[in-house]
C-alpha cells in the first residue's frame, strides 16, 4: 500500500522510476529510523506523508537541475516498462558501497542474500546481538549517506 501511495505521489513531480525508487528507499529508511516520532494518538497517514514529502523535497533539492527534465525525456521514461531489477535504486548501490567493511558485509548478507541475524553471526563469528547492533548502525550510516549525497 505504502509503495503505491509513494509512487503516485512522486510520479507527479516528474521523477524517473529510478529516482522514485531512491526516494522510496530513503523514505522507508526514515520511516523506520524515525518511527519513535509518531505519536500513536495521532493519525498515522499524515505522519507517513510528511516524512515522504520531506525526503522527496530533499531529493529534488539535491538533484537541482536534474529535477527539471525536458519533456522528451519524460515521454521516454513513460514509454519505458516498469524498472528492471538492475535499474532499481542505483543510488542505494552506491550508498552501500560507502559503508565500511563489516557493516557492508552485514547489510549485503541480510538485505540482498536475505540471511537472518543469527546466520550472519555464525558466518562472521559474531553474536546475534552484535550483528543486530551493527545492522542498526549501518542503517543509520545508510540514511546519512543518502543525505550527504550531492548527486
Amino acid at each position: 500500500m505504502l509503495r503505491g501511495v509513494i509512487n503516485r505521489g512522486f510520479a507527479r513531480y516528474g521523477l524517473g522510476s529510478e529516482e522514485v525508487e531512491d526516494v522510496m528507499q530513503e523514505t522507508l529508511l526514515a520511516l523506520h529510523l524515525k518511527r519513535h516520532t509518531w505519536d500513536d494518538r495521532r493519525p498515522f497517514f499524515p505522519w507517513v506523508q510528511s516524512i515522504a514529502q520531506n525526503k522527496l523535497v530533499d531529493n529534488l533539492r539535491r538533484r537541482g537541475h536534474r529535477a527539471q527534465i525536458p519533456l522528451d525525456d519524460v515521454s521516454q521514461t513513460l514509454a519505458a516498462d516498469a524498472p528492471s531489477a538492475e535499474m532499481n535504486g542505483v543510488d542505494a548501490e552506491r550508498m552501500i558501497a560507502r559503508l565500511k567493511g563489516r557493516q557492508r558485509d552485514i547489510v549485503v548478507a541480510i538485505s540482498i542474500e536475505g540471511a537472518s541475524a543469527r546466520e550472519v553471526g555464525e558466518r562472521f563469528g559474531m553474536t546475534e546481538g552484535a550483528v543486530r547492533v551493527a545492522l542498526h548502525r549501518a542503517l543509520h550510516s545508510l540514511a546519512k549517506a543518502f543525505r550527504a549525497d550531492p548527486a
Partner: protein, 212 residues
C-alpha cells in the same frame, strides 16, 4: 539494492524498541536542568528575602511569566521535533507568554505613577540578568538539541528556536528567584532580549543540527 532488499534489512532491525521522544526530551531537560540548577545555586543562589517576595504580586507574576514561557516551550519543543508538527499552532502557543507579559506591563503602567516607570524598567542589575539567563541556558540547550537530533523536525530552525525558548525559560525561571527587579517593565526590557538571544542562537544551531 532493490527496495525489497532494503525492507529485509529493516525487518531484521525492527526488533529493537526505540526510545520515545518524550523520554529523550525529559532526560535532556532533567540533565540540563540539574546542570543549570547547580550552577545557579553555586554562583547566584535564591534571593535572601524570597519568603517576603513571594507575597508581592510583582514577584509572583514575574516567576509565573517565566514559568509560562517554560511550559509552552516544552509543549512546542515536543510538537516541533516531529515531522507532522502543527507549526501554526506552535507559533500561536509560543506567543502566549508575550501576551501575558503585555497584560502585566499594562497593569504596572496603570497602577504606578509615570515617574517610577523609568527606574523600574532600568532596574538595578540588568547586565547580570542578561549574562545569567544566557549562561544558564547553555547546558539545557545543548542537552535538548542533542536529544532532538533523534527526532525528525519538520522545520529544523523553528524546532531549534523552541528548544532555545525552553532552555531560556528554564534559565529565566532560575534567575527570576535571584533577581530583585520584579517589575513587569524590567522583565519586558531585559528578560525578553536575553531569552530571544538564546532562541536565535538555538534556531541557527537547529537549522544545522536538526536536519534528518
Amino acid at each position: 539494492m532493490k527496495t525489497e532488499d532494503l525492507i529485509n534489512a529493516i525487518v531484521q532491525d525492527s526488533a529493537s524498541r526505540p526510545i520515545s521522544m518524550a523520554a529523550r526530551l525529559s532526560a535532556a531537560l532533567l540533565l540540563g536542568g540539574i546542570a543549570a540548577g547547580t550552577l545557579f545555586m553555586s554562583v547566584l543562589g535564591v534571593r535572601p528575602d524570597i519568603i517576603q517576595a513571594l507575597q508581592t504580586w510583582r514577584f509572583d507574576i514575574k516567576v509565573a511569566t517565566t514559568l509560562v514561557c517554560f511550559g509552552v516551550a516544552l509543549w512546542a519543543t515536543y510538537e516541533l521535533a516531529r515531522p507532522d508538527a502543527d507549526t501554526r499552532r506552535a507559533l500561536l502557543v509560543l506567543a502566549l507568554p508575550l501576551a501575558l507579559l503585555g497584560v502585566t506591563v499594562a497593569c504596572e503602567v496603570i497602577v504606578s505613577p509615570p515617574d517610577v516607570w523609568m527606574g523600574r524598567a532600568i532596574g538595578t542589575n540588568s547586565r547580570l540578568c542578561l549574562a545569567s539567563i544566557t549562561t544558564l541556558s547553555i547546558a539545557p540547550l545543548g542537552a535538548l538539541l542533542f536529544a532532538m537530533r533523534a527526532g525528525a523536525a519538520r522545520s529544523p530552525a523553528f524546532a531549534g528556536a523552541a528548544a532555545g525558548l525552553l532552555a531560556g525559560g528554564l534559565a529565566a525561571t532560575l534567575y527570576a528567584t535571584h533577581c530583585v527587579d520584579d517589575s513587569p517593565l524590567f522583565v519586558a526590557l531585559w528578560y525578553i532580549p536575553a531569552i530571544a538571544l538564546v532562541a536565535l542562537v538555538a534556531a541557527a544551531a537547529g537549522s544545522r543540527l536538526l536536519r534528518w
